[in-house]
Each structure stands twice: as C-alpha cells, then as structure tokens.
C-alpha cells in the first residue's frame, strides 16, 4: 500500500520535473562557423548536449563533408570555385550578407544561440559577425565562443581576428574569448601540434559545457535562463573563462586555488577587474552546500565590484569530482559611449553598402592578385568602414579608437623595476584612481 503510494508519488514528481524542465529548458542551437568552428562543433555534438540543434556553416565544402551534424549551410558562389575564402574575411563577409536570409532562417525558433568559431581565418572572421546579427534579429540571446589565433600564425590573422572580435562584440550579447597564445602556458613544452590544437579546442568546449550545464542540469541552485539573459543581454562584453576540476576532501579549497592561479584569468586579475561574473559549479551527488558556500565566498571576495550569479548542479557522472567554470566579463568600454544601437547601426550601414554590390567587391577581391595586394592594416580597415558609413558612424569609430586607450600599458613610474605589490590579484603599484576608474576632468 505504502509502496504503491510512494510509487505514484514518484511518478508525479517525475512528471512535475519533466514539466518543469520543458518549461525551463530553453531551445538552444549551436553554430560552428569556419573550419575551426565546424571541427569544434564535432566535439560538442555529443549526447551531453542532446536536445540542442546543431548547424555547421562554412565556405569550404570539404570541411562540411566531414561533419556529422544534421544541418549544414554551405555558403558558395561561383566566384569562389569551391575553394573557400582564401583567408580573406571580406569575402566571407560578403557571402554571408548575400545569404543573410538563409542564416536567419536557420536561427529561427531558438532562445539561445551559441556561435563557436576560431577567429583569424576568412570564413570564421567574416561570417560570424553577420551570423550573430542574423541571430540577434530573430530575438535570440547570442553567445559567441571564440578562439583568437596563436601569435605564430602571423600578424594579419591577428588583425583580422581583432577586427572581427570588435564587430562581434557590438552585435552579440556576450563574447567569450580564448586567446590560444595563453593556452601555451597550460601545456608543457613537448606537446605536439595536433595535441595543442586539440587541447585548445577542448578548453573552449569546456567553457561551452559549463554554460550548458548551468542552463540544463538539475541544480541545487539553478540559474534560470532569464538570469543569464539579464546578465549578458546587450552588454556586448568581452569575457574570459576558466574551468578547473579537483577531487578529494580539500577539493573546494583546491578549485579556488587553481582558479586564482589560472593563466586564462591572468592569475586572478581578470576577476578583480570584471563587473559580472558567472560561476557554475558541478559535482557528484556528494556535493554539499558548505562546499558551494566556501567556493562562492572565496570567489566573490576576489570580485567585490562584480555582479555574481552562480549555479550549482549535480551530475552523477562527476562522481567525487568538483568542477567550477567561471566566466568573468568586463563591460565593453565603448558601450557606454555609444548611443544605443550606435555601433551596430554603423556596421549595418557598412554591411549594407557591402551587400549592395557584393558581386563587384567579390569579383575585385577574387580577380585581383591576392599576393600583390598589400595586407590591410587595422587603421586602413577602419578608414574603409568609415568611408562607407555616414558622419555619425565615423564619429562612433573615432570614439572606438579612443576608448581603447586604457588597454595601453600603464607605466609604474619609480616602481617599474621593483618587485610588484600584488594584493588579491590587483597590482597596487598602479595608481588607485586608475584601477578604480575614477575620471579626472
């Protein structure tokens, strides 16, 4: 009798859980763009992410052929002769503009769109900003996970990646960045080339997994989809992330230590500078509230000025391990200068002018001898953008450049050569007013 009642109770609870999950679980789609994006998407297209849609977007037919995802979008015109963009984002950009409607249709019907891309190449850097804009127009939350190229890949790719990142930041809700160069420090010297790329990919996938877990796994403390929206929507922020794992009795202390020494978080400095921090904890069934509390207390102490949202999830597969994913985002310094929609508009105009005559531009790009063409420098690109846009857009781009000033290295004057005074990730030798962002005028 009691057993039966218990049985019915359980089914009811399960039903309720199912209903709740159906309500809470947002429809998500993963887009892999460019060669790197498509192959990273392969790594994500697993059981763990069941329930999400997958779309591969590329200009290179060979790469798409190797992909196992259901929906593939091949951006192609005759002019490219199926050879890809040849590392020129202008072509990728023009192609994406041409097929804007297709991209938008693919984005339709999801609440959150993850764009996974390796910036620096032609397809990834060119298509992604357009795709993000298309996704944004459907009303979805757009989170981009991007890798920036290794320094050894050359200056040009760096510049392309940077430019694309700037554009992406102004359209996507959040951009989570993984500079490959920093991952070097996480590996030992003898790591092979293939392994290096694999590890970098895995790192990015880890970040995706952290956010995914946050949204879908039954939580001790659940982060609702709207929390995430409220945190990232229209922030146009650049974020860094780190995932660490530990097991054993001291695991809560260990994860915090690992986090604070993490290369990707600049040894904890990124936390101190961030203004929004998202923490996702995942542990086995033995995850205790006290552990969650301990980790959170330590983390929030290091980012006093930030808005912190956290979620803790139980995943049986974790067993006795504890994994913490931290995404720290710093508000885009340009965002507050620009009138709402200022930068996207300027981009749109530039895009529009490009899309008006995509054929011509493409033709010029394809027929012109690529090698003899001097590589565009950053400034030249901005000039091109500004020329296409109206006066207002020019103003915006001028401000854009000005707002980058704080990124310049601050001279520490007389303490330049002495041992730096680091206190909880802050360099105390840098004037206080600069670290606190107090304006003098």
């Amino acid at each position: 009798m009691t057993e039966r009642r218990a049985g019915t109770m359980r089914t009811k609870i399960q039903e309720a859980a199912a209903v709740a999950q159906a309500v809470q679980k947002p429809a998500a789609k993963f887009f892999g763009v460019g060669n790197a994006g498509v192959s990273l998407l392969e790594a994500i297209n697993r059981e763990e992410f069941a329930g999400a849609g997958f779309v591969a977007v590329n200009t290179d037919a060979a790469s798409l052929a190797g992909s196992t995802v259901a929906l593939k979008i091949h951006l192609e015109t005759k002019l490219l002769r199926g050879l890809g963009t040849g590392g020129d984002p202008e072509r990728g950009h023009a192609l994406a503009e041409e097929q804007f409607a297709t991209l938008k249709a693919a984005c339709e019907g999801s609440d959150v769109i993850f764009v996974i891309v390796g910036l620096g190449g032609g397809a990834g850097s060119g298509i992604t900003p357009v795709l993000a804009r298309a996704a944004k127009e459907t009303g979805a939350l757009v989170l981009a996970f991007v890798t920036l190229p290794f320094v050894c890949e050359g200056n040009r790719r760096q510049q392309q990646a940077q430019q694309s990142l700037e554009q992406l930041k102004s359209v996507a809700d959040g951009v989570i960045c993984l500079p490959c160069q920093k991952t070097f420090k996480l590996m030992d010297e003898n790591t092979g080339v293939l392994d290096t790329f694999r590890i970098t990919g895995e790192l990015l996938v880890e970040g995706v997994r952290g956010v995914w877990r946050l949204l879908t796994r039954p939580g001790l403390i659940q982060i609702h989809f709207d929390d995430l929206c409220a945190l990232v929507r229209d922030r146009h922020a650049e974020s860094v992330f780190a995932t660490v794992e530990a097991s054993g009795p001291a695991r809560s202390r260990e994860v915090v230590e690992k986090l604070l020494n993490h290369q990707l978080l600049d040894e904890g400095r990124a936390l101190a500078e961030s203004d929004a921090v998202l923490v996702s904890l995942a542990g086995g069934k033995d995850l205790t509230m006290a552990e969650v509390d301990r980790v959170m207390e330590q983390i929030s102490r290091h980012c006093e000025r930030a808005q912190v949202i956290m979620g803790a999830a139980v995943d049986e597969a974790m067993k006795s391990r504890l994994a913490v994913t931290v995404i720290a985002s710093r508000r885009n310094p340009d965002a507050k200068f620009q009138a709402p929609g200022g930068a996207p508009e300027s981009l749109e105009r530039a895009d529009a002018s490009a899309s008006r005559n995509p054929e011509r531009r493409l033709a010029a790009a394809t027929h012109g001898d690529n090698t003899s063409q001097p590589a565009f420098t950053m400034a030249q690109r901005e000039q091109v953008l500004a020329r296409h846009a109206s006066g207002r857009a020019r103003k915006a781009s001028a401000k854009l450049r000005q707002a980058q000033l704080p990124l310049a290295i601050i001279s520490k004057g007389r303490f330049d050569k002495s041992e730096p005074t680091i206190h909880k990730g802050e360099d105390l030798d840098i004037p206080t007013y600069i670290r606190r962002g107090v304006a003098l005028n």
Partner: protein, 407 residues
C-alpha cells in the same frame, strides 16, 4: 664609555630617510633620548635595500650625525626591518604536564614555548620575532605566569613574525659592513607600537598604523599582548608616484606638491582651484588642478586604510580595538589623515604621541621618528631583562669575559 650597556641605538633604514636614534638608559630604568641623526635615503625601495652603495653612505651619514649630537661612539644597533615579504601569524604550542603532582614547572614552560616556536616556515624564511601571548592551563584562558599552577595540559599562543632570510640579511650585512654590530633585528611595526602605546592602551586594544615612505606597517595589541602584525608594501612613495602619473609632472615636483597642497580628504574650498608650476627662472610651466591632486591622494590613502581594515576583519580583531587607532610615520603628517582613517576604520583615530621616553623634544614630537625611538625602546626592554637575570657573579664574569674576548 665604550660598550656602555646604558647606551642603546635604534637604526631605521627607511625608504625616504635613514634615521639613527641614541637613547640612554638611566639607573632608574628611565629612557632618555640624547642623540638623533638622519639622512635622506636613496638606496631603498619599498622598505628594502635596492642599492647597497648608496644606502651604506646614507647610513654612515646618519650614524655620524647621531654620534656627534650625543657625543658617544656607536658600536651596536637595534636594526629595524620591514618589507612586503614580512608576515605575522599566531601559533599555538601544546605540552602535557607529566610530573606526578601536576604542578607546572619552569621546564614545562620552556618546553611549551619551544613547541610553539616549532613552526612550518618556508625553507627560505626565518623568524624575526616570536612573542609570547597568553598561556592556557587545561583550556583556561588568560594565564600570564603558569609556574606553580596545577594542570595537566599547558598551551601557549605565540605571535610569530617571519620574513625572507636573504632579504633580511641584506640590511644586516649592510650595517655590519660599516663595522657596527646588530644586537637584534626588530620589525618596524612592532617598534612603532612600542613607542606609541601605553600599557593601558595595549590592554584595551589598539591599532598602530605606520605609514612610511615605501611601506605601511601595522600592529594590533589587545589584552596586553600583540595579536597581529602586517606589512603593506604601499606608502608615501606610491602617493607621489600616483601624483606624478596623474598630474603629469616629474616625481620630484609631485613630491613637493604632495607636501605643500596634499590632503587626505577633499577640501570643499579647493574646487576649481589651480596651482601654477614655475621653473627655476619663475616662468610658468604648467597648471595643476588642486582638486585632482587631492582626489588622487585621497583615493590612495583611503585604499591603504581599506586594505588594513580588511586584513583586521579577516583576523577577527575589529571588535577588540577599544582604544582606537594611532597613526605615525610620514603619512601621519598629511592633513586630515586621521579623519579619513576614522571614516574607513570606523573607530577613533588619533596621531600617535611617543610616551614613556624623555629627551630631545624635537625628536619626540615628529611622527617620522616614532619607529626609531621604538627601536631604542625595544633595546631598553631587552637590556633591562638581561640585567634582571644577571647576578653579581655572572655580571662580573660577563665583564671580564667581554674584556678578554676583545683583542
């Protein structure tokens, strides 16, 4: 006159100045300051020697000046040390009382202190001070002398100050290179608190913050014993550097502006006020906004106090400081600094006054000399203790022994 045990010298090799203070211990135990020498320091950054040659010269100048003023020859000094590598923490030692009648003997006390001193320090660190706090007998708190008491378990709390051995040795070697003996090294924060606090204040609970040129040292007393010490490698130099950076003036000019127009809190009157900087010919070079100057300065000083307050909170000492906080060091000269500290620390703050020392009025009133005077005071306490221990016979032996040792 040589090796007169009543002459005690404190030497502080600071970031902004080197300072030697000579004290004379009277027969009645009263300490009298009879000499003071100082020199601008050029070879020190953040409290630690960065240029040995220059620092050596500065130390020599300060010592010579003090010697001339007091008309004594300096052989031994108590040397003040500081730097970002110095840490303080509390450690507890435990010792079971094994004697049949459970009476605690002097040996038990020695043993428990030895246990408390056995601490796991990083291999490159060494202990600067190990100061006894209170004894516990069977968990009973607040015992100051347990000898003769009955109990089965004796514990003692120690406050241990330690630092990087090589970096401590740098200062010691420098002094030894000048043919001076170092009696003992003393943490500057401890020395300052010795000079400023009365035993009543130590009992009530007090915080001493010494804002020096390169470092800020602080020490907390509560219940009559030292409870906490700390160093922040941030000081007046940082204020000058911030000003030089923020106002875009040379460092020497920033230093001057800081002294002439600085304030820890923003003055209402100065809004929009500017200062014109002129070159040596009297031609105007640049105008500086006083409001900016004071804001940069105020933010830096505020941060220093905030960091100290955070540290104290972490140590759980904020509620024990009933006598309030006392400021010293060059930073205490900044106008309104006590008011700012009051706002941040949420407790009464006043500028420290050296007490229980007499002598040169000019030295006693200056906040910069507090540490050096504290070093002398530390020396006097040590000497007194030593004298108390020596019986007549041992004393004589000691005198002859010393006599024979000297070539």
């Amino acid at each position: 006159m040589f090796d007169d045990p009543s002459i005690i010298v404190g030497l502080e090799i600071g970031t902004s100045k080197v300072c030697a203070v000579i004290g004379e211990l009277g027969a009645d135990g009263a300490l009298n300051i009879i000499g003071l020498g100082q020199a601008r320091s050029r070879g020190v950054r953040k409290g630690e020697v960065a240029d040995t040659t220059q620092a050596e010269e500065d130390v020599r100048n300060a010592i010579v000046e003090a010697e001339q003023m007091a008309d004594v020859e300096i052989r031994n000094v108590y040397l003040g040390v500081t730097g970002g590598h110095i840490r303080g923490f509390n450690n507890r030692g435990v010792h079971p009382v094994v004697s049949a009648d459970r009476e605690i003997s002097g040996d038990d006390v020695q043993d428990v202190i030895k246990n408390a001193k056995a601490i796991n320090l990083p291999a490159e660190n060494s202990v600067v001070h190990a100061v006894r706090q209170h004894f516990f007998v069977d968990g009973q708190d607040g015992v100051t002398n347990p000898v003769g008491m009955l109990g089965s378990r004796l514990e003692v709390d120690m406050h241990v100050v330690h630092g990087n051995r090589n970096r401590l040795q740098n200062a010691i070697r420098l002094v030894k290179g000048l043919q001076l003996e170092v009696d003992e090294i003393v943490f500057n924060g401890l020395a300052s608190s010795l000079a400023l606090l009365t035993s009543e204040q130590k009992e009530l609970g007090a915080l001493v913050i010494d804002i020096g040129g390169g470092t800020t040292n602080y020490a907390v007393y509560a219940g009559g014993v030292i409870r906490h010490t700390g160093v922040l490698a941030v000081g007046g130099d940082h204020v000058s550097n911030d000003l030089a950076y923020g106002l875009k003036v040379p460092l020497s000019r920033a230093e001057k502006l800081k002294l002439e127009h600085g304030s820890a809190l923003l003055d209402e009157k100065i809004k929009g006020q500017t200062i014109t900087i002129t070159n040596e010919l009297g031609l105007p070079l640049k105008t500086v906004n006083v409001e900016h100057l004071q804001r940069i300065m105020s933010l830096r000083l505020e941060e220093i106090f905030q960091l100290v307050a955070q540290d104290l909170e972490q140590a759980g000492l904020t509620d024990y400081l009933r006598a309030g906080a006392f400021l010293c060091g060059g930073g205490a000269r900044v106008p309104q600094v006590a008011k700012l500290a009051e706002q941040v620390l949420q407790m009464p703050v006043s500028l420290g006054q050296t007490n229980s020392v007499s002598g040169l009025k000019s030295a006693l009133d200056q906040p910069e000399f507090v540490t050096a005077i504290g070093l002398v005071k530390f020396g006097s306490l040590k000497t007194r203790k030593r004298e108390g221990k020596t019986s007549l016979a041992r004393g004589l032996k000691g005198v002859f022994g010393k006599f024979l040792q000297r070539p």
